[in-house]
């Protein structure tokens, strides 16, 4: 690793829907806090996944403390705009700026980059002001992340004058510094997420200035057998030995053996996708593996287990 993942200051976590992006983001933030860093976890779409991951009350725009050194918030573009106007534009009487906020919210709906810049701007501000050692963002899914990361450029192309244009300068500097900012792409060892990951990494490298810090492969099934053990397993299933096994183990053994065969096949299909992923990604890009959790798929327990697995992968 050129820069240790958790030694950066701002991590955007993205991934195709359904791969467990929110859990990974929550776990990275938890791991960072456990390692002594003051950490902020932020969810960009207010789905409430982050609060679920920590089993905490719903998060809001104002960061709340989850545990020692760990804070969580949800992005809210209108609140972000108000804060921006108050802190950076010194616009007086924000309370009375309702119509402006409304007008800008309306513009944000249609104008490219406005909503994104309010999100990225707020997070960049937290980093710039050194409020936290690390900010982990449960960011947009793969389809929208490039738009989010290139918002400052989009804005500076559209807005030729005015205060907003001046703001995009420092934000771009912050995003393009690999010691500061990194993108983490979450995937599962399945065909579609793997292909989307390969495509996204290519796009991020060609269309943005943001460094891809790591690809995290979630829900990796365990390897069942070594090569020689698998041969033995196949022998046990074959007609020669199967009747002896049935007699020795009792009824139901066929189902147990069938389940193991399924596990072997699933694992093998996934290994194929993983090999394709590794071969298609730049060799220096680290791949981190998180095992499939059989017992709990969400909630604080799952978050803690994923954090532990990530910690082991990162050598903590």
């Amino acid at each position: 690793l050129s820069v240790d993942l958790l030694d950066r200051r701002l991590l955007f976590v993205t991934g195709k829907g359904g791969v467990g992006r929110s859990t990974i983001a929550a776990a990275l933030a938890l791991l960072s806090a456990q390692n002594g860093r003051r950490t902020l976890a932020c969810e960009v779409d207010a789905k409430g996944n982050l609060a679920d991951s920590y089993e905490a009350p719903p998060t809001g725009f104002k960061a709340t403390k989850i545990q020692d050194r760990l804070y969580a918030m949800s992005m809210h573009t209108e609140e972000s705009l108000k804060e921006y106007l108050r802190l950076q534009m010194r616009v007086p009487g924000v309370a009375r700026m309702g119509p402006l906020a409304k007008a800008l919210d309306f513009v944000a709906t249609a104008a490219p980059g406005v909503r994104e810049i309010l999100t990225v701007g707020k997070l960049g501000w937290e980093v710039k002001e050194r409020h936290y050692d690390l900010v982990v963002v449960d960011a947009s899914p793969t389809g929208h992340i490039v738009g989010q990361l290139t918002a400052p450029e989009a804005i500076s192309q559209l807005v030729k004058v005015g205060a907003v244009r001046h703001q995009t300068g420092w934000l771009r500097d912050l995003l393009k510094d690999p010691a500061t900012t990194g993108l983490v792409v979450v995937t599962t060892p399945e065909e579609m997420p793997v292909n989307e990951t390969i495509e996204l990494v290519g796009r991020v490298r060609s269309e943005t200035e943001v460094d891809v810090a790591a690809v995290i492969v979630n829900r990796v099934l365990p390897e069942l057998f070594s090569h020689s053990d698998e041969e033995l397993f196949e022998r046990l299933r074959a007609p020669g030995l199967a009747p002896f096994l049935a007699e020795s183990a009792g009824p139901g053994v066929e189902n147990v053996m069938e389940a193991a065969r399924l596990a072997v096949t699933l694992r093998r299909t996934r290994v194929g996708h993983l090999e394709h992923l590794r071969a298609a990604l730049p060799p220096e890009l680290p791949l981190l593996y998180v095992p499939y959790l059989f017992n709990r798929t969400h909630g604080l327990r799952a978050t803690a287990q994923v954090a532990e697995a990530l910690g082991a992968e990162l050598g903590h």
Partner: protein, 398 residues
């Protein structure tokens, strides 16, 4: 009716309710669900089955540019234009296709351009809109444009009268309501006061508002030039107001029509299932027809077998060695056999936990529609039409 409920049997002469029966009766099926549940594949499999066994002209409209789907359909690529899946592909899959299967992918930008061309009052205005840099940036993301454009294209295809059935795969949405509400939002957007404010002739607005603090602030933050650019863009768009609003309402009517049904696709994992439940509620709230629930990637039932569970516990525990010792010598070295059986047992126990959790999730599923189709976990990926039809047969009868 009570007799039917008591026996669980279908009335005499009627087939049990299935996806097949549902699609035979409908002209549009909208597949929805959260990301990663297999929506695109389900939509394609259902459309392929409908074309093969119900006949007629069937279109699958997908938003997913997945290369694999095009491959599976035996096509070079999928574009905004509908293309027929070659009858030979069905033959190669060993299926006689009674009807025709057509496929198209949603290209948001191209669809927007066509929409503008259709609704602009004249060619000059259309060209000005299409050439506006703001429009070019915006076309891909304008007011949930992806959701709206999917519904809009569906409307266009349906009103062309070219198809007996259209199966549409919906874009992944941040929340389930996004595309159900997209037509309403589009109409609201064009009727909103703010849009009218922005499109008041520029001079009078500046004169009227220049003294107001919020215009001053907006000017300071964004620069008046940008505000003017936006105003001009909206002014151009305003010229399409009537056409757009009328169209958005027609799209909404089509979604509520009796000929349209919604198929909710989910796995039994907690998060997608939760989203599916929210979706089912939302459909009811909007007065849309919930036709079927597809439970995808179901683990095999043998994982719930009690006897197998006991065997697995034995394999995984200290008594596994006894089983190994009871086997003939050609099985192998006893230690190695015991190790393999332990792995086998532990693997079963692991997957059994998942299967039990999912069975419980299914039992807790509150408001399920009459048609619930279950599709087993496919061990390998689907690469061709034969694979797609294999999944389709499960859908049809499951």
């Amino acid at each position: 009716l009570s007799a039917r409920a008591a026996t669980g049997a279908a009335p005499t002469g009627a087939a049990p309710r299935s996806l097949e029966q549902l699609l035979a009766a409908k002209e549009i099926a909208v597949c929805c669900g959260s990301g990663g549940v297999g929506k695109t594949t389900t939509a394609a499999a259902a459309a392929a089955m409908a074309a093969a066994s119900l006949g007629g002209k069937v279109l699958v409209l997908t938003v997913d540019p997945a290369r694999r789907l095009a491959d599976a359909l035996g096509m070079e690529s999928l574009g905004n234009r509908e293309m027929r899946v070659p009858a030979l592909s069905f033959k190669a899959a060993g299926v006689e296709c009674r009807g025709e299967l057509w496929a198209a992918m949603l290209d948001t930008k191209q669809s927007w351009d066509e929409l503008v061309t259709r609704h602009a009052p004249d060619g000059v205005t259309a060209q000005r809109i299409l050439g506006n840099p703001l429009y070019q940036n915006v076309a891909g993301r304008f007011v949930q444009s992806h959701e709206y454009i999917a519904m809009e294209r569906l409307y266009e295809m349906h009103s062309s009268g070219r198809y007996d059935l259209i199966v549409v795969d919906t874009p992944p949405t941040r929340n389930a309501l996004d595309f159900l509400e997209a037509p309403d939002r589009m109409a609201d957007f064009f009727s909103s006061r703010l849009l009218r404010w922005l499109t008041v002739p520029t001079r009078s607005r500046v004169v009227n508002l220049a003294s107001r603090p919020f215009y001053q602030a907006a000017d300071r933050i964004l620069g008046s030039q940008f505000l003017e650019d936006i105003a001009e863009f909206f002014l151009l768009f305003q010229s399409m107001h009537d056409g757009f609003v009328e169209r958005a309402r027609a799209v909404k009517r089509l979604l509520s029509d009796r000929r349209t049904t919604f198929v909710v696709v989910t796995t039994l994992e907690a998060a997608p299932l939760h989203e599916a439940e929210l979706f089912i509620d939302a459909l009811g709230g909007h007065g849309f027809h919930l036709g079927a629930l597809v439970l995808n990637k179901m683990l095999p039932a043998y994982l719930l077998d009690g006897a197998a569970f006991q065997v697995a516990e034995r394999f995984a525990g200290p008594r596994g060695a006894e089983v190994a010792a009871g086997l003939p010598a050609e099985a192998g070295v006893a230690d190695q056999v015991a190790r393999v059986l332990r792995e086998v047992g532990e693997s079963y126990l692991n997957f059994a936990v998942v299967a039990k959790r999912e069975a419980e999730q299914r039992a807790e599923l509150a408001a399920a529609p009459d048609v619930v189709a279950t599709v087993p976990y496919f061990e390998t990926d689907i690469y061709d039409l034969a694979g797609l039809l294999g999944l389709g047969r499960q859908l049809w009868t499951g």
